[in-house]
Subunit: 283 residues, 2 copies
């Protein structure tokens, strides 16, 4: 009972072996990733990236990677690169059709180096996205591969002047940018949304919180409303590549560039792109 | 400023070209899929599958596929196969790193044929999953590639006796199985959860609703509680491969096999695996 074709896959009309279709990351987004800034051949915030990756494994029920091996391979891939982006995938490996994972998961460890991005003009101009983030405390905070929310929100604009889009959760509260966390400065306080129902807990966000502790100026983690954003003295976005960026405007609101940035922001900015040797940084 | 390596990718420690890593379906789950039952070389519920795929494109902002071409290629791939599963992917194509889609999306059209699954023993035994479905009306109903919720829930059990897991939404209401929709029969009524915040609107579920209309016995679409499930006279699960299956037990509750199944269920069971010629079925 054989068919007319040699293979069981057609890709854009062509017969294909297509073994990568078995990737569970492709079929279901079953895996995790990290995006690491590489400066002077060495990584920034490596320990924080590895901590989040480990937490993601715990939540998704995936085996932990060998962190030493990841560092070794990252080092190999980034040798000779003054500035680069290292994207790490840690996936549930391959399987046939069906949600059930194989009894013996063989996770795949994929490292990919790419160019450091040109700083987007107007990165600091922020708009509001219509698409809201999916709500699920069990998946909030970790950097898993189910990113349709961010993709759909990011497709809402295509002008070079807008650098980022602000995303709300299902309850209408502010959660984050499509690819960044957000900080609201008002008078002496710095406020950032809790990442307990939606969104990703960024490594620079963690550094902001840690820095606040270190210099005895705790950052407030709480519900943030659009009203808080609109009435901020200053607004900041963070991710591993941009570090901390200041927002110039949100929709029709322009923020006063004359206002000094919060001490915790200034200190985080200083720290977040200090890269460290692969092994030292893993300690 | 060149590195020590020829390629920019390491997969499990080996240098690789890894162009498939650019697949947006792999990077973000940016795409849709359909799982079609093939019987006697022809598809079941093809028009319903294509309708859902089209609705998914509209919601995710992807171009529509050429439905005629999908039928043609499905026919080619399934010729000579009495029973098979046809999985269709329609993705946002390839891009470099970053959530933003390229200005000109070149979606990929991937068809994969696989074996008809052995009927799982005890398909009809249902357990309750701890992991709850993510809530997002903007993504509910369509069959997109972000399926971590189903994967995590499906990993909660590994015994062959349990065939399916019942999933709740964030509000604690019943939504569906991990890979099926659910129907609660009580006295003369048939009730199924609204798929407006989470879950997938199955093609057999749509057929159940249509059948209810056709035989003037409307199926109730409303909130379903665990209590409704526990006090059902009979419980049914549906998907494109199993058609309609009756649940024997849910956790410690056994349902009375002596109770006759609802007329709409009986009629749907009769209809859902009647395959039709590729072109006729697309009309």
């Amino acid at each position: 009972m054989h068919g007319l074709m040699q293979h069981d896959v057609l890709i854009d009309g062509a017969e294909a072996e297509g073994s990568w279709l078995k990737e569970r990351a492709f079929q279901f987004g079953d895996g995790l990733f990290e995006t690491v800034a590489i400066i002077d051949e060495t990584p920034c915030l490596w320990a924080a990236h590895m901590a989040r990756l480990g937490e993601g494994c715990r939540r998704l029920g995936l085996p932990l990677p060998d962190f030493g091996l990841l560092a070794k391979e990252g080092q190999l891939l980034c040798a000779g690169h003054r500035r680069a982006v290292l994207k790490i995938f840690w996936t549930a490996g391959q399987s046939e059709r069906g949600y059930r994972r194989p009894r013996n998961i063989h996770p795949e460890r994929i490292l990919r180096r790419s160019e450091w991005p040109e700083k987007a003009d107007g990165w600091c101009a922020l708009r509001q996205c219509t698409h809201r983030l999916s709500e699920n405390p069990a998946l909030a905070g970790i950097k898993h591969l189910n990113r349709l929310d961010q993709v759909v929100a990011r497709s809402e604009w295509d002008d070079a002047q807008t650098g980022e889009g602000l995303m709300l959760g299902q309850d209408g509260r502010v959660v984050s940018g499509t690819m960044s966390n957000i900080f609201v400065q008002r008078e002496q306080t710095l406020l950032t949304p809790a990442i307990d129902g939606a969104g990703i807990g960024g490594v620079v966000r963690a550094l902001v919180l840690q820095t606040g502790e270190n210099i005895a100026t705790p950052v407030l983690v709480d519900a943030v409303s659009l009203d808080d954003v609109c009435h901020a003295d200053a607004l900041f976005l963070s991710n591993s590549l941009i570090g901390v960026a200041r927002v110039s405007r949100f929709e029709s609101i322009e923020y006063d560039p004359g206002i000094s940035e919060h001490a915790v922001i200034a200190e985080t900015r200083r720290l977040c792109h200090q890269s460290k040797p692969w092994y030292a940084s893993h300690e």
